[in-house]
């Protein structure tokens, strides 16, 4: 994808956002500064761009995205914790004409629901899994997630995660891309980054534009018949106990070292099309 020489600005981006039919009018419950808001917008955007709203069903998982049925103007099926890819499988198998996606947290996808997401990938179910990796259990108030990094303090690792004791952080994109059945696996960051310009400090949304494209690609590959997985690195300043912008900086400076951004798999070459 091409970016203009001048970094696109947050203000310009906000102006461009209009009312999307794939979204309801309800304000989200997400914390200020949380990237779940961005993701909601980007998914709705992709649904709208592809003109598939009327044949899209979202599987609502357990975690911070549990109230997503209030925000996306599509049909919804709620899932038990971790089971969203299995529900998506059941639906997609009987209704292959539908577009089916899940938005799941790191605990939902990579801890309690690891079998479900891996087997959906193994079978190559044509669904889209959007994993929000913020390295912590957000909804329950900041416990250790499978993606919590070495030394990270959480309420269940109050002295910092010791990977020698708990095992190493789980790399979802690496894991899923290693499965033959997966078609499109990409890791993006949803955190805006600060940018110094001659006029002063502004924010770069380069990450968000990349994520936007990845999400649209995921839907496209799903419609082509492939299993798609987009891991979205996000912040959780509330549970990380950091100021919002410091939390976003932590994503783009520290989390990306543990979880490098990029395309992990593109079986159908969607990024070249």
């Amino acid at each position: 994808m091409s970016l203009t020489a001048q970094e696109p600005s947050l203000e310009g981006y906000r102006k461009k956002l209009g009312k999307l039919e794939a979204l309801t009018d309800k304000p989200t419950h997400y914390c200020q500064g949380c990237e779940h808001g961005e993701l909601t917008r980007l998914i709705a955007n992709a649904i709208e761009n592809l003109g598939i709203r009327e044949r899209t069903v979202m599987i609502d998982s357990v975690g911070c995205s549990v109230l997503a049925f209030d925000y996306f103007n599509v049909d919804h099926i709620q899932s038990p914790h971790g089971r969203a890819p299995a529900i998506a499988t059941g639906l997609k198998r009987v209704r292959p004409d539908l577009a089916v996606y899940t938005v799941q947290g790191d605990g939902d996808t990579l801890a309690i629901g690891l079998l479900e997401v891996m087997y959906a990938a193994i079978r190559g179910e044509p669904i889209s899994v959007f994993l929000v990796n913020n390295a912590i259990y957000g909804m329950t108030g900041g416990q250790m997630a499978p993606t919590t990094i070495q030394g990270q303090v959480t309420t269940t690792t109050p002295y910092g995660r010791d990977v020698g004791f708990t095992g190493a952080p789980v790399d979802g994109s690496k894991l899923i891309s290693a499965i033959d059945g997966s078609a499109y696996v990409k890791r993006v960051s949803l955190a805006v980054s600060e940018l110094e310009t001659p006029k002063g400090k502004t924010y770069s949304i380069k990450n968000i534009l990349e994520a936007k494209q990845a999400i649209e690609n995921a839907f496209k590959v799903q419609l082509m018949g492939g299993f798609t997985f987009v891991e979205c690195l996000s912040s959780c300043w509330v549970n990380w106990k950091l100021p919002i912008m410091e939390a976003k900086r932590f994503v783009n400076e520290r989390l990306v070292k543990q979880y490098p951004l990029g395309t992990y798999k593109d079986k159908f070459g969607i990024e070249k099309k």
Binding site: E54, I59, F69, D75, H76, I77, P80, G90, L98, Y119
Partner: protein, 354 residues
């Protein structure tokens, strides 16, 4: 068309489901229920069953039942079958399905428990099937066949009830009704068409979104939801109780049994009747809704109930509740895969009579 066949209960159930226009089956093998997915796998693609579009073996019991949820949410006839340890694993999803009001069918071919138990018949999942089983307050509609014939005809009844009330249904088999081979006239099954247009998740085309959800963070809203479910359960209790009575009109002794044990008890009733005893058989067919009212009515003549089960006493509690203290309630159980002999039950009746 009537067709004479010689088949196992599990096979009959599979064909009964196919003839009821089963659309999707999600499998995980477990003895003694496995002939159900095996039969369906064999028939998958058979043009005689054009509605049977999906057969998929899952990686776990959890995956299988959640796939059923996903398929059922689109309004099609979806089912799975399992046996006791597997049925335990289904409970989470069944609680969600009850909360989301999804019509679906789960068959439990009851084997020995607790734990891994064994693969021999028991009726020890009665509590789990009839009292909710998972978290929160809910009910499955539970039907207990006692023959290969009924294993064939019950899937259609279960789907009808599930769709009529938008509630998960369960067929309570056991290792006998599942494994038993009988010579039967396969029942004629006329599938019903269900209207799912006002709730199914099929894409919000030309309408507002359909949201299948069991969660309401607002206590007042959730209280309304749970009350709605409770009212539905009360309607089911009023309208859908099924049972069989045999020579109970004047019976002073009533043997109560469900599933396979009811058949043994029937021959005992015949034998005692021959000797002039006023004895009858009461057989609940719906284990939930339970026929409490009929039990109460039986106490007009009945002085005693003898409840016979393949467990250490579960349905006996419901017979006690139903009899409201108007009659004595005795229990005779066998566990571990042992079946009570007619002689043992006869001795029990004679012993209590003295």
């Amino acid at each position: 068309m009537t067709e004479r066949v010689y088949m196992k209960g599990n096979e009959a159930l599979a064909y009964g489901a196919l003839k009821s226009k089963l659309n999707a089956y999600f499998a995980y093998p477990i003895t003694p229920s496995t002939e159900i997915p095996e039969t369906l796998a064999k028939e998958f693609g058979n043009k005689e069953y054009p509605d049977f579009k999906v057969f998929l073996q899952a990686a776990s019991e959890l995956e299988a039942v959640n796939m059923v949820l996903g398929a059922a949410a689109s309004g099609v006839r979806a089912m799975t079958a399992t046996s006791s340890p597997g049925f335990s694993l289904k409970q989470e999803a069944l609680s969600y399905a009850a909360g989301m009001e999804l019509p679906l069918l789960v068959v439990n071919v009851n084997r020995g428990g607790p734990g891994l138990g064994n693969i021999a018949p028991e009726q020890s999942d009665y509590f789990q099937m009839t009292k909710g089983g998972g978290h929160g307050g809910y009910h499955l509609i539970v039907l207990a066949p006692n023959s290969v014939q009924e294993m064939a005809s019950f899937p259609k009844i279960a789907f009808d009830l599930a769709f009529k009330y938008r509630n998960p249904a369960c067929i309570a088999g056991d290792a006998f009704t599942g494994q038993l081979k009988e010579d039967i006239i396969f029942p004629t099954i006329e599938p019903t068409d269900y209207d799912v247009s006002n709730w199914a998740a099929t894409g919000a085309k030309g309408r507002g979104p359909h949201i299948l959800n069991s969660m309401n963070l607002d206590p007042e809203v959730h209280a309304k939801h749970v009350t709605h479910l409770d009212e539905k359960y009360k309607t089911i209790e009023r309208n859908e109780v099924r049972y069989e009575t045999y020579l109970t009109d004047d019976a002073e002794i009533v043997i109560a049994a469900f599933g396979i044990t009811s058949r043994i008890c029937k021959s005992i009733v015949n034998k005692f009747r021959h000797e002039g005893a006023k004895i009858g058989l009461f057989r609940p067919i719906t284990l939930w809704p339970f026929p409490y009212e009929e039990v109460r009515k039986l106490t007009k003549h009945a002085k005693r109930f003898l409840v016979v089960e393949l467990n250490t006493g579960q349905m006996v509690e419901d017979i006690r509740l139903g009899s409201e203290g108007r009659a004595g309630v005795d229990f005779f159980g066998r566990v571990g895969g042992l079946l009570p002999t007619e002689r043992e039950i006869e001795d029990k009746i004679a012993e209590e009579a003295n």
